[in-house]
């Protein structure tokens, strides 16, 4: 029963994007600063946004999602990222969970889990462990079959959305390979501890998760069980990298908006800041950073929509470029704003902290460089 072709040609429902952007603008309003300072997003708001499709923009309509293309979903992600990186980070996690189910799940699993994720339930994806960060092959979490059940044991750290999640997509060792399993957050044996005061995306609900003899029906196990760990996670991470990269575009846009407005009005030495050449240079470089990151993201999203194999490397490239540009761009924006931007919780202060985390998650700068170095050698040597 092969149900369908791999990925439909670029979907039409991209027309839904402006409405989803308006929804995000209205729902975030002027509250992003307060959410950051409190380290908490309102759960009701997340559920409402989830039920309206904002958190699963690329899930196809037959599973209840808006079915946006990657290009349109990416622009939506950038828009949300320009308002609130914590909310954008929730979008990335929920989207990554949904994509993992869509990629590896059978038809029943897709109907059940994607139905839940498009109607208000929230999901996180658990990769990292105390002893397995960049080195995911060192994962110690185990998933094993026992009759018609699977049993999950292990510890996960820094699970984005962990504190809000109804469902957790957990990766672990499975026989000689690896597997992904969908764990209800309220299953017996699941324990949560909130990460106190993360540096960035403070309201994204990062949590550590303990899994102690968590027994689930065997159909909680997604397909591809037994594949090498890097095969399994590369698929989820590719989605995550594209989403993070677009989120960084959003950070750069927020920085441009704040820095340019400030530089156009604040006067020092008898002239607005923008007329001081050293300040103008910061604005110019921010502009270039935003353009470059956007073009790079558009490219990888087109690769995704067309099903081009180039997308895997292009996702690492886009994430690496956009995260670096966002980190440097946010530092510039703080520099231009100076004391006006130094209040914690404000847009450029958040950008400065959030962007730094983007250089770490979904493959640190250094891991991205290792992957891209290998790729460069394969293509150019």
């Amino acid at each position: 029963m092969r149900e369908r072709k791999p990925r439909e040609p670029v979907p039409a429902p991209d027309a839904a994007r402006p409405e989803l952007e308006r929804l995000a603008t209205d729902m975030v309003g002027d509250r992003a600063d307060a959410w950051d300072l409190a380290g908490e997003l309102p759960r009701d708001l997340l559920r409402e946004l989830g039920g309206k499709g904002l958190l699963t923009a690329q899930v196809p309509a037959r599973y209840g999602g808006p079915g946006l293309s990657s290009v349109a979903g990416g622009e939506l992600t950038a828009h949300v990222g320009s308002l609130c990186s914590s909310l954008r980070s929730v979008m990335t996690s929920q989207g990554m969970a949904a994509w993992t189910v869509e990629r590896f799940g059978d038809e029943e699993q897709k109907a059940a889990y994607l139905g839940a994720l498009t109607s208000g339930q929230l999901a996180g994806v658990a990769f990292s462990e105390p002893g397995a960060g960049s080195d995911l092959a060192a994962m110690a979490t185990t998933i094993r079959r026992e009759g018609d059940t699977v049993v999950v044991d292990g510890r996960k750290v820094w699970v984005t959305v962990g504190a809000y999640a109804d469902l957790l997509v957990v990766f672990g060792r499975y026989g000689t390979g690896a597997a992904a399993v969908v764990v209800p957050a309220d299953a017996p044996g699941v324990g949560l501890e909130r990460v106190a005061d993360p540096l960035g995306c403070r309201a994204a609900g990062h949590a550590g998760i303990r899994l102690e003899g968590v027994r689930l029906p065997a159909d909680s196990l997604l397909g591809g069980a037994g594949l090498p760990i890097d095969w399994l996670v590369t698929s989820a991470l590719t989605y995550g990298r594209i989403s993070v990269a677009w989120g960084c575009v959003g950070i750069l846009r927020a920085c441009l908006r704040a820095a340019c407005r400030h530089a156009a009005t604040r006067e020092q030495f008898g002239a607005v800041l923008a007329e001081h050449q050293l300040v103008a240079r910061h604005l110019a470089e921010l502009h270039v950073a935003q353009e470059a990151a956007t073009r790079c993201c558009e490219h990888v999203s087109r690769c995704w929509d067309e099903g081009s194999p180039e997308l895997v490397t292009a996702a690492v490239t886009a994430k690496h470029l956009a995260a670096g540009q966002a980190a440097r761009g946010a530092a510039r924006a703080v520099q231009v704003m100076a004391s006006a931007g130094a209040g914690d919780g404000g847009p450029v202060a958040r950008a400065y902290r959030d962007a730094k985390l983007m250089e770490i998650i979904e493959g640190s700068n250094e891991i991205s460089q290792l992957l891209l170095g290998k790729h460069a050698l394969a293509v150019w040597s």
Partner: protein, 91 residues
């Protein structure tokens, strides 16, 4: 590439396509029975590229129990996989 010009002809063109794709990405001539994982030709990123390439080029979906290392181990194995999945699709 019609499905009824003979299985052998179809298999040959699938093999050629895969060999060409692998050659382009690894700059190595890959014999159809070479173990791609044992030789280290296929890295984690490239493994996924290979999967995406197979799905797009041959309009198949590799899911569930078909997602195994063995199905991707050699050009011949991938060719068998594609032929099998296409049989399913055409039915």
């Amino acid at each position: 590439m019609t499905t009824h010009t003979g299985q052998a002809e179809t298999a040959r063109s699938i093999r050629e396509n895969l060999t060409e794709f692998l050659q382009g990405r690894t700059r190595t001539d890959v014999a159809p029975d070479v173990d791609l994982f044992a030789t280290g030709l296929v890295t984690s990123l490239f493994a996924m590229e290979l999967l995406v390439h197979v799905e797009r080029t041959f309009v198949v979906r590799v899911a569930g129990p078909d997602l195994t290392l063995d199905n991707f181990r050699t050009v011949n194995r991938m060719t068998e996989l594609v032929l099998r999945l296409r049989g399913g699709t055409d039915a």
